[in-house]
């Protein structure tokens, strides 16, 4: 069974990506668009287009009702959600199922568990995959904290149960710091979150963010497709991704790849997903979470494996089997992706909307560009600032960096401010070129300005 028509419940570059896969597979494609997106390229490339509401995402791209109705009206059999918007919304996946539409992605149960990070970590830990060591919640006294700190090993973080997104965290390098900071953290947590419950977590020094792509069929077969190095981030937003990782040994790749498959099996994962790890300086790895969607950075995996992940998603959702494992793939070469955002790196990454008056995309050997930009396109103020992904490929990392630099220099998008100059700076950075960096790289390269001035 394959689909005759797929509705793409997204916009921008990822909508184009899915439409292109549909065309190559001979499957009809339906673009959905908001009233602010009548000129967005995905509406022109799809076979059909249908308006799903006003500019505000909550009433269009996030409206389950409007999207399901659009699929019924256009007689689509399946919906590809892309990333973001409804991609990880279990209610949406369930509604598709109950309306007889195939949701091209994980099962509603997978989405539920991926959203419940604490339970997911517990299941994955029970399956034998390491997670970041932490203490139970609700440490009451300094004495108890010091005993637990010693058991974890320093440095440790004091975390507030009520915190999140990086808030309510104190790093303690030694026992004396823990005894000093603990009472202050408790008072601060009470004031900030109305809850003074604290716990300790081992602090990973200069970590790297490494994730594994997995694919799973409906019959329980799961494989990984190697890793992506996503350490170059700003405020948890990835800027550059590459595959393979410059720091993984063949041995660690095998171990972590197996751990990723074990994690995916433990949660009975289906379709394409990503298993995220933090890796410390000594090569210890810790499971973080499973991202239950196709990811922005999927092209780097596609270039080194030769596997079209969107087509695989469609194929697996139509009930076909996974017919290969990692060792069958014969990974070759090196791929790097730079996210091109309409943001001004010189002004604290403020967004830069407007009309693209001059547009010259790069090309040539080893260059892939996934973008919805064209000359004359006006960036709506309503949606996020990712305007393109520039991906380069060569047999070596050094070659891929050289091609990236050349392609970034060719790329002209005027008068918008973009992350292109920042990427050029990174391509010239000696620690980036050496492949020795951690998640603090961007903060050191571009110290943050005070928000108020």
């Amino acid at each position: 069974m394959t689909f005759s028509k797929i509705l793409i419940a997204n916009r921008g570059e990822i909508a184009l990506r899915v439409i292109r896969a549909c065309k190559e597979l001979g499957i009809g494609s339906v673009a959905v668009y908001s009233e602010a997106d009548t000129n967005c390229l995905h509406t022109r490339l799809a076979d059909e287009r249908i308006c799903i509401g006003p500019a505000v995402s909550a009433k269009s791209y996030l409206s389950i009702e409007n999207i399901v109705n659009a699929a019924k009206e256009t007689e689509a059999e399946a919906i590809h959600p892309g990333y973001g918007y409804l991609a990880e919304n279990q209610e949406f996946a369930r509604e598709c199922e109950s309306q007889g539409l195939v949701f091209i992605g994980p099962t509603p149960e997978n989405l539920k568990l991926a959203g419940d990070k604490i339970t997911a970590k517990e299941i994955v830990r029970a399956a034998g995959v390491p997670i970041i060591p932490s203490t139970p919640k609700g440490i009451d006294t300094i004495e108890a904290a010091m005993d637990l700190g010693q058991a974890l090993g320093y440095p440790v973080m004091i975390k507030a149960s009520g915190g999140g997104g990086g808030r309510g965290i104190r790093v303690c390098e030694r026992e004396e710091m823990l005894s000093e900071e603990f009472p202050v953290a408790k008072m601060e947590a009470r004031a900030a979150f109305g809850n003074d419950e604290l716990y300790l977590e081992k602090y990973i020094i200069r970590p790297r963010h490494i994730e594994f792509q997995v694919l799973a069929d409906r019959f329980g077969s799961i494989t990984h497709l190697g890793e992506r190095e996503c350490t170059i981030q700003r405020r948890y937003q990835k800027l550059i991704e590459e595959s393979p990782s410059p720091m993984l040994t063949t041995e660690l790749r095998t171990t972590m790849g197996n751990a990723a498959v074990t994690a995916a099996k433990a949660v009975k994962y289906f379709n394409a997903g990503t298993v995220e790890f933090l890796v410390d300086e000594d090569g210890n790895y810790y499971f973080m979470e499973i991202n239950a969607r196709i990811q922005v950075e999927h092209p780097v995996t596609e270039l080194v494996t030769g596997v079209d992940l969107i087509k695989e998603q469609i194929r697996l959702s139509s009930g076909e089997k996974l017919a290969y494992s990692f060792t069958d793939l014969n990974l070759k070469g090196w791929a790097i992706e730079c996210r091109i955002n309409a943001e001004d790196p010189e002004r604290n990454f403020l967004p830069s909307p407007g009309v693209v008056e001059e547009y010259h995309p790069p090309g040539g050997f080893g260059v892939r560009l996934d973008t919805h930009l064209y000359q004359g396109y006006e960036l709506p103020i309503f949606y996020d600032s990712l305007i393109g992904k520039l991906i380069t490929y060569d047999l070596t990392r050094e070659g891929a960096i050289r091609i990236m630099k050349r392609a970034l220099e060719e790329f002209k998008i005027k008068p918008l401010k973009t992350t292109i100059p920042l990427h050029l700076k990174i391509m010239d950075d000696s620690s980036f070129k050496e492949g020795s960096f951690d998640t603090g790289f961007i903060t050191r390269l571009m110290p943050e300005e005070d928000e108020d001035e």
């Binding site: 403020l350 909307p353 103020i381 949606y383 996020d384």
Partner: protein, 88 residues
């Protein structure tokens, strides 16, 4: 009135870039300011959302809000007028 005008200065606050204008921190909360309110320099008087990023709109002066020229949740263009303030 003419007498007062000599001693005060009308300050226009315009959108620093295109974005959606919000008069309140969240839908359930009251507006930051109303017409007639006294404001201090650097006081937050509105938010502007552009491509999912929120910027604070602050009063550049101590003074009084004379006019709020746009409705809550209106999409604005770069340089659209938002407030008129009578500076002290």
């Amino acid at each position: 009135m003419a007498e007062a005008a000599k001693h005060t200065k009308r300050v226009e606050i315009r959108a620093p870039m295109a974005g959606i204008f919000y008069r309140k921190p969240s839908p359930d909360e009251p507006s930051y300011v109303e017409e007639g309110d006294l404001v201090k320099k650097k006081q937050i008087i509105a938010l502007l959302e552009t491509m999912k990023v929120f910027q604070k709109v602050k009063s550049p002066v101590n003074g009084k809000i004379l006019e709020i020229t746009v409705e809550n949740e209106t999409p604005l263009k770069d340089d659209d007028l938002m407030f008129v303030i009578e500076a002290d």
